[in-house]
Structures are given as structure tokens and as C-alpha cells.
């Protein structure tokens, strides 16, 4: 009997102790965090094996690198690095969550997410304006105490939150840009339409039939068109201030007839116009960059760099698979794709961190329909590291969430909870 017990023990030991295969490849994980660069203190990077099998993960910290050792189904993969950057990142991102249909919606919320944790909190929801649309949130220089957003529908307008003050102005302008000095806000005033395609890989197109730039003076309350940026022949949109407030950048395109049918002919160029800081623009705008076969959207300025979204045509790149992020060097006037950030699918809205070291942008690379947020580090030489998907408590959360992330903006501290004061604006 003892002889057989011994044989059994040997067999059991042999089956447990051996059989782990070493694989020289990195593991195929979702999200793909292999080789990304993250800020210190970011929320844990939770991932799973792409094939759905269970995995065991151990993490070793060596200097500024975390080494992830992953084993799955008796295969031990090559450890992959995650690099830690000492560059600070703004601690919160604010974004809108909306169903990707865009023409209609049910619940819309503007939410803030703490980057160092998985905590997500509602800043404002469309329950305040009877389920109308809320959109185009914007912060003055990333300062969460100074916020603008639009609330459409009956009794709607533009909500201004400035410290403790909350006001609702009957302005129905579209894209805002708060002047660094704080007194002025440039808006584009757009007449926007949607059209839906038949049997195309791009199901929706959004276009403007009219758009101009207007300037709001918060001290006087006056909203005036910018003379050089007004008129039916040119479509002006997407205002963005330089950091010193002396230049307003924007996008402009020649208007065309039957714009829906001729949407392929609408190409926006990047323009600039000087501003004196006291409400006066110079008379002549300048072309900063243009390409007759492509269109510029969402210029965002940081130092001598402007990041923008480039697509084949039009003004709503989120529906364009070919849309990519580009970087313009204002000192040389040359632009090039932001290497490492782009994919085969849409890259669109983006936001610089306050120190210019990080970028958050929207991408549809996961499934072509649901926009997700990616963060990348900008090296001192202007190159970008491999972007990483905003970490979630569970990897599958990225699949299960049936809303798109819209207009991600870094903010330097948590947005104060002003839901009650916002709600009161709509109770009147």
C-alpha cells in the first residue's frame, strides 16, 4: 500500500510542479498597456487577457519602471514595462457622456473623473433642463471654478459658473474659448445640421450652414460679432486663444451651396487674428496653415505648439475614420501628424494639461463607434509616448459602457459641486 502511495505522490508532484511554458512575446492584453508611460499616482492599470482567459499578474517596481509579469494558462509571458513619469498631470478630467446616436439622447451628464482613482462624479446632468441637451463645457485655463456650458431647449442658454456666482445668459452660441485674462469669451455661433448616409461606413455627417465668431464681454455683458470674422461667405468656428491672449486662432472654410451634397468640398484652414486684450481685433486675419485636401478642427494652443484634428473635409471629425491629431509648430509654420497618437480609426477632440506635458484625446479605435479617452505624455522633444486608455476599475467597463466620452478637458482641481445652484437657474 505504501509503495502505491509513493508512486501516487510522485505523479501528483510531477503534474503540479512542471509544464509552465515561457513565451518570448508580450501578453495580448486589453487594454493594451504594454510600454505606456503613466504619471505617478495614476489609478491602477486593470487589464485582462484579450482571449478572455484568467491571468495572474505580479508587479515589480524598478526605478521609474513597473514590470508586469503575466501568466495565463500555464504560459508565462515576457514581462512588459510601464514607465512612470515625474511630470505632474492635472488631477481631473471632465467630459460629457452621451449615447452615440447624437440626434436624440436620454440622459446626458457632464462628469469629472479623478485620474488617481476610479472615482467619477456628476458635475451636471440634463435633468436640470428637462432632459434637454447640455454641451460644450469649457473651463478658463483649466480652472474648475470658472466654467461655461450650454443648455439647449426651452428656458436654456449658456450657463456661467464663476466662483460662487451662477448665471444663465440667453446666448445660444456654440464653441466657447475663455480669454486668459478672464474678461472676454469668444464663441462661435453655428447653425449646425446633421445628415445620415445610406450604406456608408460613415453613418453620420455634421456640418454648419453658417458660423461666425462673436465676443462676449463679461464686464459689460455685451455680445458683439467680430467684424472680420462675420459673414455668410466664410464659415468661422472653433475659437482658441494663445496663452498670452494676444492671438485668437480659429478655423475657417469657404461656404458652398448645397453643403450636404457638397460636403467633400468644405475644407477648413487654421487662421489667426490679433487681439489687443481690450476687445479689439486687428482687421486682417492670417492663414496659419491650410491644406486643400483636408480640414482642420479643434486647434489647441500650448506654447509654440498647436494641436489640431485633421480630417478629409468638414467640421465634425468624430465621424471621420481618417481623422488624426496633428501638431503645428508656430515658430516654423510646419505641421505633422502627432506620431504615436493616431490609429486607423478616429482621433478627435483633445486637451493639453496645464503644464503641457500630457494630452488627453478622444478616440474610437476600440470599436469605431463609442468614443473613449486616451492619455499620452509629451516628451521635452515634442514627441509623444504610447497613449493609454483611461484606467477603469474593471477592464470590461470599457466595453460595457454604452455612452461615448465627449470633450475631455483637464482641470487643475475638482469641480465644486454646484448642482443646486445650477438647478435653480432653470427653476425660474
Amino acid at each position: 500500500m505504501w509503495k502505491y502511495a509513493g508512486v501516487l505522490l510522485v505523479l501528483l508532484t510531477a503534474s503540479c510542479g512542471g509544464g509552465t511554458e515561457m513565451c518570448p512575446e508580450y501578453p495580448d492584453i486589453f487594454p493594451d498597456y504594454v510600454g505606456v508611460t503613466v504619471p505617478y499616482g495614476t489609478a491602477p492599470l486593470r487589464f485582462r487577457m484579450s482571449d478572455g482567459n484568467r491571468a495572474s499578474v505580479s508587479i515589480r517596481s524598478v526605478a521609474d519602471t513597473l514590470w508586469y509579469e503575466v501568466s495565463s494558462r500555464r504560459v508565462k509571458y515576457r514581462p512588459f514595462p510601464v514607465y512612470l513619469s515625474g511630470d505632474a498631470i492635472d488631477p481631473y478630467i471632465v467630459y460629457r457622456l452621451i449615447e452615440p446616436g447624437y440626434e436624440s439622447w436620454h440622459d446626458i451628464e457632464i462628469r469629472q473623473r479623478e485620474i488617481s482613482s476610479f472615482r467619477e462624479r456628476t458635475v451636471v446632468s440634463n435633468s436640470v433642463n428637462a432632459k434637454g441637451c447640455i454641451n460644450c463645457h469649457h473651463f478658463a485655463g483649466g480652472d474648475p471654478s470658472r466654467m461655461i456650458f450650454h443648455a439647449r431647449g426651452a428656458g436654456g442658454g449658456t450657463v456661467f459658473l464663476d466662483g460662487e456666482k451662477a448665471s444663465l445668459l440667453p446666448i445660444s452660441a456654440t464653441y466657447p474659448a475663455w480669454h486668459p485674462g478672464g474678461r472676454y469669451v469668444a464663441f462661435s455661433s453655428n447653425t449646425t445640421r446633421q445628415c445620415f448616409t445610406i450604406d456608408s461606413s460613415q453613418p453620420v455627417e455634421v456640418y454648419d450652414t453658417e458660423s461666425d465668431i462673436v465676443l462676449l464681454d463679461l464686464e459689460t455683458g455685451s455680445l458683439t460679432p467680430v467684424p472680420a470674422l462675420t459673414g455668410p461667405d466664410i464659415l468661422e468656428t472653433f475659437p482658441a486663444w494663445s496663452e498670452d491672449g494676444g492671438t485668437l486662432y480659429y478655423c475657417a472654410a469657404d461656404n458652398v451651396e448645397d453643403i450636404a451634397d457638397n460636403r467633400g468640398e468644405v475644407h477648413y484652414r487654421l487662421m489667426s487674428i490679433s487681439f489687443d486684450g481690450k476687445g479689439i481685433f486687428s482687421e486682417e486675419p492670417c492663414t496659419v496653415w491650410q491644406d486643400d485636401s483636408s480640414s482642420v478642427s479643434f486647434p489647441r494652443v500650448k506654447g509654440d505648439r498647436i494641436m489640431f484634428t485633421k480630417s478629409s473635409y468638414g467640421t465634425f471629425p468624430i465621424w471621420h475614420r481618417e481623422a488624426d491629431l496633428w501638431i503645428l509648430d508656430t515658430s516654423t509654420g510646419t505641421a505633422a501628424p502627432a506620431e504615436g497618437l493616431n490609429s486607423d480609426d478616429t482621433e478627435s477632440y483633445h486637451s493639453w494639461s496645464s503644464n503641457g506635458r500630457w494630452i488627453v484625446f478622444s478616440s474610437r479605435r476600440l470599436d469605431g463607434r463609442y468614443t473613449r479617452l486616451y492619455i499620452s505624455h509629451c516628451n521635452p522633444d515634442g514627441t509623444f509616448t504610447k497613449p493609454f486608455l483611461l484606467p477603469q476599475r474593471k477592464a470590461e467597463h470599457n466595453t460595457l459602457r454604452l455612452k461615448s466620452y465627449n470633450i475631455p478637458e483637464f482641470v487643475t482641481s475638482p469641480v465644486p459641486d454646484r448642482r443646486k445652484s445650477i438647478s435653480k437657474l432653470f427653476d425660474r
Binding site: D107, T197, V204, G368, T399
Partner: protein, 364 residues
Amino acid sequence: MKKFILPSMMFVMAFIVGLLFQSHTFVQQGHLSLFLLAPDYFREVFGSPFPLSYLLSQFLLQFYDIPVAGAAMTALLITAVYCLSRSMTLACALWIYLSLSGNIQAVVALAFVAAAVRLVLWTAKVHIGKRPTPSWAMAGSAVLVVCSAVFICLSPSVRNREIRAAVEEDARQHRWEAVLETLSPRRAEEYRDLLPYAMLALNAEGHLMSGMSAYPVKGPEDLDMEGVRTREGYYFSSLLSECLGDYNGAVHYIFQSSCHLRHGTSLLTLMQLIRYNIENENYTLVRKYASVLSHNPRNHSRARKIMEVYGRKEDRVPDADCSVAEIVTNDPMVNLGLIHKAGITSDMAAERLAAYMFLQGNIL
């Protein structure tokens, strides 16, 4: 033994009435429900009033796509309310309310309350219902149950909901003969807003031009629900788009329809999106929606099978230039031409176009 007579009677009557007169309604309720084991779902539910009753009602509703299950669970709920409250009046009133409104959450909530009261009384050792029910009271309760059953069976509101639910589900399943059987020319007089379904069924069967004269069709507006900005209107438009082969349109309209639902989606939405994206060869989205659906206990296995079948399929190659794609208009007749121009041809579209032209007086 006597104490089981009334509950048994309640259950059996509710079950039979449900199965015979409300089966399609149950299926529709199940389809329009949503229960997911997912963080966003729980956040939304627990951020709203009465989350527990809502959660339990949605959990039950996911099984309502099996009519027998729907009838049994409804009967069980009503019977549970009676057993907990010992009030046949309350149980029958709730049964009628549930049949007319479809608001199962209210019944679940009341069942919770009744259970809680029972628990409190039991803890306090207060005994209710221990005395035997006199025969006259039992007879009265039985009459109440029968009267409630008759009321529900004969209620125009219940019948209305059942017919609408039947038509929607039969159309979704392409059971066109069943649609035409439900929407006979005579019944279509009463349900004019469902006339587009009858026209769609005739169209699918290839008899639109010959068959529509029997129906009370007054104009081209009876062929579709263009401009009907309700859940039902958009849902019909998604089915119509599907039948015509315009799957982009079908996806768009099912999103529109779903925005009228509490979570902006439902089990039916997910199933339709899977279906349409398979036709569009957009398998990444098929896998996504199947993954979401797999977090619904009722549909877990079905979703897993979908993911196995489409797990490795590649998406269709995107168009090189989307600026030349045809775009839909607000004119259904023009859209038929554009669908044809986009290369999607079907006898249905051709017959439909002829019908529009005829009704507009363009064909003598």
C-alpha cells in the same frame, strides 16, 4: 386545505388570463426591459427612487419574452400580494392596475411593503388571518377574482396593448401573415396608426399594390411613420429600414427609439443592434453588444454563442471616400430612390416606390 383555495384560484385565473390575453404584451415588456450585471447600470438604478423594486422588476421582466414565464410570474406576484396582505380586494385591484399600466415595479414595491408589514407583525407576534375565512367571504373573494378576470379580458385598453405588441413583435420576426391577420382591413379602421405595419407586411409579401386597396389608406403618409417622433414611430422606421436593406438607417432609428427608454437602451435594442451590425459586417460592434448582452442572465448563453460565431470575423473594409455617400432626406419617396442609387436594390423598394407614386396621383 381550504386556505389554499383562494390563492390557487387567484394564481390559476391570473395565469390563464395572462397567457390567453396578454402574451404579446409580456413579450414586449420583456424586450423593453433591461437588467444587466454592470457598474453603469447599477449606478443608474441606485441613483433613482425605489431602486430595489425596480431592480427586482427588471430581473423578472427579462424572462417575460417567454409568454408562459411572463404569465406565471405575473400570477405569482399577484398571488403573493394576496397571501401577504390577505386582501383579495387589494390583490384584484393591483391585478387590474398591472394589466392596464404594465407597471410591474409598483406591484413589486407593494409586495415588498406587504412582506415588510407581515414581518413586523410576525415579530410583534400579532397574528392576522389565523381565523378561518367564512364561506360567504370566500365566495365573495372568488366572485371578485372572476369579475377582475372578466374585466381584464374585455378591457379595450388591454386589448389595445396586446394588439400593438403583437404587431410589433410579428413584424420584427418577419411573420407578415400574422401581421395581416392581426391587422385585417376592418381592424385597421380602428388602429389607423398601425396601418404602416399592414402596408409593410403587404409590401414584404409582394402584394402592396394589389392589397392596399382593401385597407383604409388615404395617402402616402399611411405607408410609413415619417415624422412620428415616438418610440413606436422610430421603431417602425428601424424595421422599415431593415426591410429595405438600409442598415445604417435601421441602426440610427433603433437608437432614436431607445432614447425614449429609461436607460437609453433595452434588451431588444441590443438584439437589434447585433442583428443590424451583422448585416453591416461591423463585427467589432457585434462583439461589443454581445458582450453587453452576456451580462444579462437570461441572454448570457445566446450572447456567448454570438461571440463565438463572430469572434474572429473581420469588419468590412471602410469606404475610401464617404463624402460621396447618398444621404437620406425627409421625403420617404426620395429616400427610396437614393437607396437604389446606393446600390441596394429590392423588389420591396420598387413596389413601395410605385405605391407612393400611385398615392400621390403620379400613376393613373
